[in-house]
């Protein structure tokens, strides 16, 4: 019996450990490349007023930046929860991503407007600079205006409590206040 003959077994044990770890990793989860950087410069019209806004307009911080569009089904799902968050005093800026501005205004009239303001990113150029690859996405802009977190997909109370609490401490659970809002 030689120690050398155990090398393949050892190599396999390492490999199996790696594969076991792999079972609990989601390979499609992609962290934002812009984390830790200031929100990119932009100059775009505001959705409702039409006046040009720049990054200085995102002044109330920490805040959420929510990427949404009327063509995005999941955005409709998370919309009521955004409204609940806004009512709780969480500042939310909207990035209306590659959308028809008229339709987007209609959406806000019908479903309510949780946003401080909305960047009308018709061409998707702000989204591109931010590293957006779909909607909905929600970013945390911390007190210094730095991108501190990104969530891809529907924002729900569960996700918010789990991932966003370092920046926003809400006293009571929102659902206790508003009943069952959140993901339908």
């Amino acid at each position: 019996m030689q120690a050398k003959k155990f090398i393949p077994l050892l190599a396999f044990v390492v490999l199996a450990g790696l594969l076991f770890r792999g079972l609990s990793i989601d390979p499609s989860e992609l962290p934002a490349a812009r984390l830790g950087q200031p929100f990119p410069e932009f100059s775009q019209p505001e959705l409702s007023t039409g006046r040009e806004v720049s990054v200085e307009a995102l002044a109330v911080r920490p805040a959420l930046v929510n990427v949404w569009a009327t063509w995005c089904y999941s955005c409709r799902v998370e919309h009521p929860y955004l409204i609940a968050l806004a009512q709780q005093g969480v500042p939310i800026y909207g990035l209306n991503y590659k959308d028809d501005s008229a339709k987007a205004r209609e959406w806000l009239t019908q479903l309510g407007d949780p946003y401080q303001l909305n960047i009308a990113d018709v061409e998707g150029s702000v989204g591109l600079d931010l590293g957006v690859y779909g909607a909905p996405e929600t970013y945390v802009l911390d007190a210094d205006g730095v991108i501190a977190h990104r969530h891809v997909g529907v924002l729900s109370e569960e996700v918010f409590q789990r991932d966003f609490s370092p920046w926003f401490s809400l006293g009571a659970s929102l659902s206790e206040i508003h009943g069952e809002v959140g993901v339908e």
């Binding site: 499609s28 992609l30 962290p31 934002a32 490349a33 812009r34 590659k98 998707g124 591109l128 600079d129 931010l130 590293g131 690859y133 779909g134």
Partner: protein, 154 residues
Amino acid sequence: MRAVIFVLLCCSPWGASSTWAVIETYEFSSPDLERRYHALSQELRCPKCQNQNIADSNAPIARDLRVVLYEQLQAGASDDEILAFMVARYGEFVRYRPGMDRNTVLLWAAPGLLLVLGAMGLFAHFRQRSSQVHAALTDSEKSEIERLLQEPRA
């Protein structure tokens, strides 16, 4: 053969109406730009898709990135500038050819390293074995064996 086991497509992430070839009709100002466009679009990974380059993907984000790629090429950006632009926004993830950094050194060095180590091992092995060839063949040894075999046992 992107499909070896397309069998597995059963629960495939290729959603409905997403499996036709992406064909776009960009006009390039030079054949060289067209060549670089094809090369880069095959080297950039679509951030949203399962495992496709932006050239083959029908995802909206892939389409957007192709537009950016086309515009930057036409504007005279170099390959490195374009890659840096993409990586700044979508991370190292978008490069199918990982750039050299602390983590990828092993990935890039592995083939050469393994080959050299293996070749050294083989070489040592053969030197040892080939000395046996000659050792086993010397005439004096042969006759020695003969002699021993023929010796009456004690």
